[in-house]
Every structure is written in structure tokens, then in C-alpha cells.
Amino acid sequence: MRVGQRPRMRLDRRGVEAVPPAAMVAAEPAPRRRVVAEPAYLIFAVAEAEGGRLSRHERQVLGAARRLADPGGGAVVLVAPSLAEDAGAAGADRLLSLAAAERYDLEAATALLAAAAARYSPRHVLFAENEGGGDLARRLAARLGAPFAAGVEALSAREAVCPCRARRAELRLAPPFLLSLAPDRAAPHVGPAHEASPLDPPAAGAVRRGILTAAPLPVTAAEVPLAEAGLVVAAGNGVKDFAGFLRLCSALGATPGASRVVCDAGAMPRAAQVGASGTVLDALAYVAFGIAGAPQHLQGLGRVEHVAAVNTDIHAAMIARAELAIVQDARRVMPALLALLEAGG
């Protein structure tokens, strides 16, 4: 840490002038990556990394993996198809890129994961307990006949706790080989980035095929329930042209949302209301047009990581919450954005 030019004055009863230790004034070292050169063991954290990005839940899985790795000098291996962001910042010491030839081939993905586990013998393999991660975890558990703890809610190097009997009881056990972590049960990694050096992918094993084809279905964003949506674009009292707003949403592939004032006025359905008395979002990104950002509205954004706001008032709470804030009339920005999209970006 850098201390200012002159050391702070101190009262020294000995009458000797205090001289700050040299180390205190040393310049801040360049940010260095934490390196675990010779890990005592490996912890796999498996992520789908949809769109090349780690979700909030997957960052939490990496955070939990760090908690298993750090006490014993282990290293965290992020296992993901391909990544467009820094795995080291999320806490990965190693990066294992495992991509099946066919992106939606669950059986090939399972075989690859089994091969990676055989080659690197990790101590534990962690998954996110959601539709995709939970499926992969169970496929691997059945394939390897390995012990598995599902939907773990508390995890340390000594024990894992998971609910059972209709959530009226819980199982406490030593962390088994395979674990899936429930959302919001572990903190993501903060602090210095780790090295994230690449590991060699294993040779693909034999794949047993039973799923003949797999492909994503085109789902129009407007059909996706607000709570499940990935991108929400919302209109507030500053928006008047709702037909144009809905056209913009469909052009962006976003699920439309609204503030309460707009829903009360009947301009948008109640199901679109974001906030304390509406829907709490789990979206990756949120764009607010003409929304003041009342506390009741902001409660609905509790878990959204990326927020952009367009508002005429620079002092609006929404502007303060936003990562990208644009002080401009929403009635002029929306048509401009639509025109830009229609012109092909």
C-alpha cells in the first residue's frame, strides 16, 4: 500500500522523530497472479459457461471449489467448453477446455468428463445444481457409480450438508466425490486472480449413444417467464410508446418488463412488473428506460449483475445503480436503437 508523500504526524513521547518503515512507502507491486505450482490435489469445478460466460451460480461453484482446495494446498480446475472471460479472476488455477464435437451432445460431454476424471483423478468434482449442471452431475454419478451429494447447501472441506425428506431433514456427510451446489449457498471468489493455466484435454472415451438428436428450440424471449429470463428490458413512466417498446424488445431478443406505475396504468400486463410486489429477476442483464429506481423497484433487481439505464434525470437512483448510465430522453434513444438493430447493427 502506498502511503502519502509525508508520513502522518504522530505523537511520540520519547521525543524521537518517528520514521516510517521503508516497506510502508514502497510502491504498490504490480498485480500478480496467485500461482499454485504443485497442488497437493485437484478440485474440478464444472461449468456450462453458456455464451462463453460464467453465470453467477457457476462463480459460486468456483468459490466453493476454492474453499475445498485452499486448506490443503489443492488447485481448482475449471472445466468448461470454452470461455470468453478470465477464468483466473473467478478463482481457477487451471483451465480444462472440454468441448464435445457436437455442442448439445450430453452423452459425449459425460464421456469426456469421465475421461478427464480418470486422467487427472480430482479429489472432488463440483457442479451447479440447475437443469444443465444437475443433469451432467447425475449422468457422471451413474456412469462412474460414484457417490454423489445433490443440492448441497453448506460445504466445507470436512462436511457437506444437503436437504432430504421433503426438506424436513438434512444429511451431513464427508464431501463425496461428486457434489452439486444449490444456488446462493457459497460466496464467489474475490481477491487476487489465480493463474488459470491450461491443462491438456484427455482423449475422448467411448460414447454410448441413446439420444439420437439434440438441438435448442427457438423460444421467443417474450414467452420466457420474467423470473427465468436472461435479458430483461423494462419501461417506466418515462416511456409513452409501448408498441415501439415491445418491438424493441423483440428485436433485442429481450423479455419485456415494466415498473409498477406502467402496470397500474394498464400499459403493460401485471406479469411484467419488476420489483418487490412483482417479480424478482435472476437475469444476467437489465436495461431500464425511463425508470426512476424506487427502492421497491430496485428490490426486483437484487441479483442482476449488469444494469443499464436511460433516464433524463442524472440524479435518479436507477442511474446510480447502473453500470452503463445514459442521461438522455428514452423517447429518442429507443427509436434510435431500434433503427440501429433494423439496419443490422
Binding site: G134, D135, A141, A187
Partner: protein
């Protein structure tokens, strides 16, 4: 087409009384929607929850009697292999037992059948059975599996058929001796559920200064563009969305 729906001894989360597991009842509705001949299968002691399932669209349930310490997968696999149906449906998670959602996978592995998880719709397809699968963030995948197959059902599937008392009375429960194979007990302590606070933001980990910063700093604190021309504002917004991976509009 013949479908078998796996029924578990469900318990109500509040009263702990026997109650059918909702996703299993949704599974019956999905199977009936295919026009399949539907029967239920349960391994364990005859349970009240299983009898109630008869009122929701099934005429027949087979109970494979096995002991407390026996492996349900072995009993189910033996019964299904002896008389294989085209389709085995199960809930994606149980409610009242271990609730790990692992059993359908172990069963598929034991039978050597494919498994498709989290179905919200089923349809007959030319090459086999089309399964619409729920994925994270409201996405859907379409899988085609070759029967015989195991399919688990997601809570987002269409609702169950209404309960009909007369049907539940009329339905038959057939008891059979199940194949007994002892389950390898797992070393775990069971105790009453304790709700734990969810982790919000960044607690723990990092240095004290980092935790303080995470706790006190307002999220965002990002870029503020004051009075940009609307076209520039639009370009900035689009660039921001693209950087987050939302570029769907680009390939349309």
C-alpha cells in the same frame, strides 16, 4: 405404446403426511397425453401416497415389496427388464426420501437405456420419442431418444390431471415380491433441516479490505454518458449488450 411411471413414497413438506409427488403426477399426465397405456411402479412398502396416485390418471400400480435396507434400483431394474415398456417416466427430484434425483439415472445405467432429463413435453417422432427439455434461464432443448428410454419430468411441465376419487377406489394395486439386494449404506448423519441464510453479494474470502469494499460499495458506479446524441447512446447500449454475449439480433 406402454409407459411406466415410477412412483415414490412422497411426503408433504409441511405436514410430513404421505402425499404424491407433484412432478410424478405431471408425469402421468404427460404419458396420457402421448396416448400411452400407463401403469405405476413402486418399490418398497405399499404406501398411501402411491394409492392416491391412482386417482390421477392410472388404473394399475405394481408394488415391488422390498425391505427397508434393500436397493430400490435393483428391484426396479429387475422388474422392468423382465417386462420392458417403451418408456419409463419419473420425477426429476423425489420429495420425501433422499430426494437426490439420482435414481432414474442409476436405473437407466442398470438397464442400459438412454435417459433424458427435465421433460416439459413429449411427442412421438419419426425416429423415436421427442422430448422437450427445460434448461436454465427458460431455454428449451429438443431431444430425440430411441425407446426404450427413461425420461424425468420437470415441474414446468403441464399440470397433473384432476384427482378423481372413484378412479382411486377402482384402481388396482398389485403386490409382488421385489428382487432384494442390500443397499450399501452411506456414512451420513441425518438431522432435522436447518434453514441457512443465502449468500448475498460477496461475503467471506478475500482480504478484509476487499470484503469491506464489496459490502459498502454501491454496485455499478459505472460509466455515465450525459446527453449523448441518441444514435451514440444506441450504439453504446448495443455494444454493452454484445459484450455481455447478447448478440442474437446480429445473426437474425
Amino acid at each position: 405404446m406402454r409407459a411406466v411411471v415410477l412412483l415414490s413414497a412422497g411426503r408433504h413438506p409441511l405436514s410430513a403426511r404421505p402425499a404424491p409427488v407433484p412432478v410424478e403426477m405431471q408425469a402421468i399426465a404427460l404419458a396420457r397425453g402421448l396416448g400411452a397405456d400407463v401403469a405405476g411402479l413402486h418399490a418398497g412398502a405399499p404406501d398411501l401416497a402411491v394409492r392416491e396416485a391412482l386417482g390421477q390418471g392410472m388404473d394399475r400400480v405394481t408394488v415391488l415389496r422390498i425391505g427397508e435396507a434393500d436397493d430400490a434400483v435393483a428391484a426396479l431394474a429387475a422388474a422392468l427388464a423382465a417386462d420392458p415398456p417403451d418408456l419409463v417416466l419419473a420425477g426429476n427430484r423425489g420429495r420425501g426420501g433422499e430426494d437426490s434425483g439420482l435414481l432414474p439415472y442409476l436405473l437407466a445405467e442398470a438397464l442400459g437405456w438412454p435417459i433424458a432429463a427435465n421433460a416439459v413435453a413429449l411427442a412421438a417422432a419419426a425416429e423415436g420419442l421427442a422430448v422437450i427439455q427445460a434448461r436454465a434461464r427458460g431455454a428449451r432443448w429438443r431431444l430425440v431418444v430411441a425407446p426404450p428410454a427413461v425420461v424425468t419430468v420437470h415441474p414446468a411441465a403441464p399440470p397433473a390431471l384432476p384427482f378423481a376419487y372413484a378412479r382411486a377406489r377402482r384402481g388396482r394395486i398389485e403386490e409382488q415380491e421385489g428382487r432384494s439386494a442390500p443397499l450399501v449404506p452411506r456414512v451420513a448423519e441425518e438431522r432435522p433441516y436447518r434453514p441457512r441464510p443465502r449468500v448475498i453479494g460477496v461475503a467471506g474470502g478475500g482480504s478484509a479490505a476487499e470484503r469491506l469494499r464489496a459490502a459498502t460499495e454501491v454496485a455499478g458506479g459505472g460509466r455515465v454518458l450525459v446527453d449523448p446524441p441518441p444514435e451514440e447512446a444506441a450504439r453504446e447500449l448495443l455494444a454493452w449488450l454484445r459484450a455481455l454475449g447478447f448478440s442474437r439480433s446480429a445473426d437474425e
